[in-house]
């Protein structure tokens, strides 16, 4: 038998997109649902505008932790007992632009669960004792984070890259000392009440149950604030945060880019995949698989509302941090000066086609795929455009994108750890 030659490859299927059912809750906030066939698992996600950029981040953080912390009639424990009685779970995720409240349960428990959560939020009383407990917990968690080089460089990167805008704001220990209960309640009233921007369901429910969900959500529906996207200035330069007695150094490198509506978006994503966004990328091949400097390194185009940024991230041995920076710079130069050869480009094409297929596998993945375009005011045709670009892109085009964007001198470079050794 022939083990040397690879089996013949077959053309990869196109994706079958599933359009979610959409209704407007309270005539404003879209509620999207996709059926989860053959499973009892159901998830509802609620997107509130209560992210960290809308006010002081400490308020967003504390408020999100206090949503289910008690009402005038029920304690936090009562509420959690009720949730547990339904076999349900919840989590609350805070990001710069949103707070997302997610609830998980079996199909026939999901509406009772949502009812408990919405009721607890509607009547939230923000008890003093709960606030104090939150503050103590969050201060401790922040102090633990201060010990991580990863956290230190990521946070400094955020502060510098978005300088002068709300995106640069972070929470420090001192912020917890001055925050008041009245401020938290104000934050809740401004950003949760009439702050539900959209909601999603993945599950298998009857039409009348979907209507029931809409009714539960209606009092919360609100409208996205428009024109609140700041203008970011390109920031550059090298900055080091000293943290002694560390055996690895955290590295973040990046710049402001654009969002999914930009003409270079699809091409940049392909170029970046080659550069640093898969296991066989240039950065991985050189810095992990050849030099052994790190357990992992990657680059990505991170997305925000109407904007985006490029970021390279890794943690490397303290003694090879400076050498790693040189290698990253070297790989950027390679991308700019040399054409990607046919084989590598073909491989990345196929890899990305396979990834696209994988990203559409199952209803939960499909909802995420949908939200990825919805947040930019786009639709599924965006992905078809991406696939088209994937088939058409040339090595020349990739090189010119690298020359346009992978410019070392324009990058913000943050390191955290021991002093760099040249």
């Amino acid at each position: 038998m022939n083990r040397i030659e690879a089996p013949r490859l077959k053309e990869i299927d196109t994706i079958n997109f599933i359009e979610p059912r959409k209704v407007l809750v309270g005539n404003i906030a879209p509620f999207y649902s996709i059926e989860n066939q053959g499973s009892e698992a159901a998830r509802i996600e609620l997107f509130f505008k209560a992210g960290t950029i809308i006010d002081r981040p400490v308020l967003a953080s504390l408020c999100s932790g206090l949503l289910l912390a008690g009402t005038s009639k029920e304690s936090a424990t009562d509420i959690h007992n009720n949730i547990d009685d339904l076999g349900g779970f919840f989590d609350i995720n805070l990001s710069q632009e949103h707070t997302v409240v997610s609830v998980y349960a079996l199909n026939d428990q999901i509406i009772p669960l949502l009812t408990i959560v919405m009721d607890a939020m509607h009547n939230a009383s923000f008890p003093e004792a709960e606030i104090e407990e939150q503050i103590a917990d969050k201060k401790q968690r922040l102090r633990v984070s201060y010990e991580k080089v990863n956290f230190l460089c990521q946070r400094d990167f955020q502060k510098r890259l978005f300088e002068g805008t709300n995106y640069a704001k972070v929470t420090e220990i001192e912020d917890y000392e001055t925050v008041t209960r009245a401020e938290i309640i104000d934050f809740f009233n401004s950003n949760y009440r009439n702050g539900l921007l959209k909601a999603t369901l993945v599950g298998r429910l009857q039409e009348k149950q979907l209507i029931e969900i809409e009714q539960l959500l209606e009092p919360w529906a609100g409208k996205e604030v428009t024109n609140n996207t700041p203008i970011f200035k390109q920031q550059k330069g090298n900055y080091h945060i000293e943290k002694t007695a560390t055996v690895q150094t955290g590295i973040r490198i990046g710049r402001i880019m654009f969002d999914r509506k930009h003409e270079d978006y699809h091409g940049f994503v392909i170029m970046n995949t080659i550069f640093g966004d898969y296991f066989g990328s240039r950065l991985m091949k050189n810095i992990r698989e050849d030099k052994g400097y790190t357990y992992g390194i990657g680059s990505a185009l991170a997305e925000m509302k109407d904007n985006g940024y490029f970021i390279i991230g890794t943690e490397v041995g303290a003694e090879v941090a400076a050498a790693t920076l040189k290698e990253i710079q070297f790989e950027m130069t390679q991308m700019k000066e040399q054409l990607v050869d046919k084989e590598e480009l073909e491989l990345v094409r196929n890899y990305l086609l396979g990834q696209a297929l994988k990203s559409a596998d199952g209803p939960f993945a499909m909802m995420d795929l949908f939200l990825g375009v919805e947040m930019h005011g786009l639709d599924y045709s965006f992905y078809n455009e991406a696939l088209k670009k994937l088939k058409q892109i040339t090595a020349d085009e990739i090189q010119s994108l690298a020359n346009k964007y992978l410019v070392w001198e324009e990058m913000l470079v943050i390191t955290a750890g021991q002093q760099l050794i040249d």
């Binding site: 038998m1 083990r3 040397i4 690879a6 089996p7 490859l9 077959k10 053309e11 990869i12 299927d13 499973s39 698992a41 936090a76 424990t77 959690h80 007992n81 547990d84 009685d85 339904l86 076999g87 349900g88 779970f89 998980y104 079996l106 407990e133 103590a136 917990d137 401790q140 968690r141 102090r143 633990v144 010990e147 991580k148 080089v149 560390t246 055996v247 690895q248 898969y278 296991f279 066989g280 992990r288 698989e289 052994g292 400097y293 790190t294 357990y295 943690e315 041995g317 073909e346 491989l347 990345v348 196929n350 890899y351 086609l353 396979g354 297929l357 994988k358 596998d361 199952g362 993945a365």
Partner: protein, 391 residues
């Protein structure tokens, strides 16, 4: 999509005590090219797929996710590295460094990162669970030789020691033919006998205290419990949910909400194949002492032994387990890995039978087990004392 999952019945427990961390380092080397194919990842990526693996104290599991029409590429690659590796010196040299950086990133350069490196040798005196999958020390990884790699492959990486699980929208006969084609002429080998040092029954309370430059004291109570295949495993799983999983759990309510001793407290089990551990761990509230916590914790555990939970509490524990399992079953990759693991436990169909095992658990089972587990002589306590001070 399709998934090709290969589970090798070898983990860190099969290592020699002077060569720990080896099973995991070896997992890295499995991506360093095989006898007929110089690169593992590139042909798979070229077929639209990707691959990864993990090692635990018990097993090493490799998986490929790729478009179904290219499944043969995964079988070609996976069977060739089962046949034989390239044993490249360069791959060993590089992966040694990569694993050392992984060791630093996960265990040495993180606050509380070395907790399990300290807890394992306290809880286990003889059984190889006394070292972590990553290994006892960087030195063991630095010392690995290519001959060790070859011997390990010969012994553990053959069909007799592997479980292959494939999923996707295929006819069974088609897959069977492909598997026979690619794997049919690989010598079956002999399943290596596993004779591990037995852990003697613990008869004394053990305690170790370490100082670390961290912001808060942390504690880990480890109680010996039954092996994965025992009925006790399922009861302990439910017991850990009752004690410390959610914000309605016993420990959370008493030690955090009522006494405000901790910022964080959890109970969970290690689902290890041999004798496992039931863990209660958490971090102290600043200004509260671990002695206070210790007496309060034992009091809660004693109370729990005396007062059985209600039927309503039992019902909700079961419902929560059902919900979690329903979510764990989402996605082809999870299901494929789970099937292979249950086959290792004895029967892939076991995955369909667990629901009944959980359902049959009664209040008395939980109470009985708690009496058996939560005694001092069955406990190993690790305390991390913070050297940083905060008001």
């Amino acid at each position: 999509m399709a998934v090709v999952n290969t589970l090798y019945d070898v983990g860190a427990r099969d290592e020699q005590e002077d060569k720990t961390g080896f099973a995991h380092l070896f997992e890295h080397l499995m991506f360093g090219g095989s006898v007929n194919i110089p690169s593992y990842d590139a042909p798979l990526q070229n077929a639209g797929g990707e691959s990864n693996a993990f090692t635990s104290n018990d097993i090493t599991n490799y998986y490929n996710v790729l478009p179904a029409q290219n499944i043969e590429t995964a079988l070609w690659l996976e069977s060739d590295r089962m046949l034989s590796l390239a044993f490249s010196p360069k791959s060993l040299e590089v992966q040694r460094s990569v694993v050392i950086e992984e060791f630093k990133q996960r265990y040495l350069n993180q606050p509380y990162g070395d907790d399990w490196l300290l807890l394992r040798p306290l809880a286990y005196l003889k059984h190889p669970y006394k070292w972590a999958t990553i290994g006892k020390s960087l030195q063991h990884i630095e010392e690995v030789q290519l001959d060790d790699v070859k011997a390990f492959f010969q012994k553990h990486y053959n069909p007799a020691n592997a479980i292959l699980c494939i999923s996707g929208n295929f006819e069974f006969e088609y897959i069977k033919q492909l598997v026979e084609h690619w794997y049919g002429n690989i010598p079956g080998g002999i399943k290596p006998a596993r004779i591990l040092p037995q852990e003697p029954k613990q008869t004394e309370f053990r305690k170790a205290v370490y100082e670390r430059d961290v912001p808060a004291d942390a504690f880990y109570y480890a109680f010996k419990m039954g092996e994965r295949k025992s009925e006790e495993y399922y009861i302990a799983d439910m017991l850990s949910d009752e004690l410390g999983k959610e914000k309605s759990s016993v420990l959370y309510l008493k030690l955090k909400k009522e006494l405000q001793l901790v910022t964080d407290i959890n109970a969970y089990i290690l689902g290890s194949l041999d004798q496992g551990l039931f863990i209660i761990s958490g971090k102290m509230m600043n200004g509260k002492s671990m002695d206070e916590l210790d007496s309060a914790l034992w009091e809660v555990l004693n109370d729990f032994q005396l007062n059985p939970i209600t039927a309503q509490e039992l019902k909700r524990l079961k419902l929560k387990i059902r919900t979690s399992r329903e979510f764990q079953e989402q996605g082809l990759l999870n299901r494929t890995m789970n099937l292979a693991y249950y086959e290792l436990l004895g029967d892939a169909n076991g995955i369909n039978e667990e629901h009944e095992i959980y359902n049959a658990i009664e209040v008395e089972h939980l109470q009985e087990l708690s009496k058996q587990l939560f005694v001092k002589e069955n406990c190993s306590l690790l305390q991390i004392k913070a050297t940083q001070s905060h008001e």
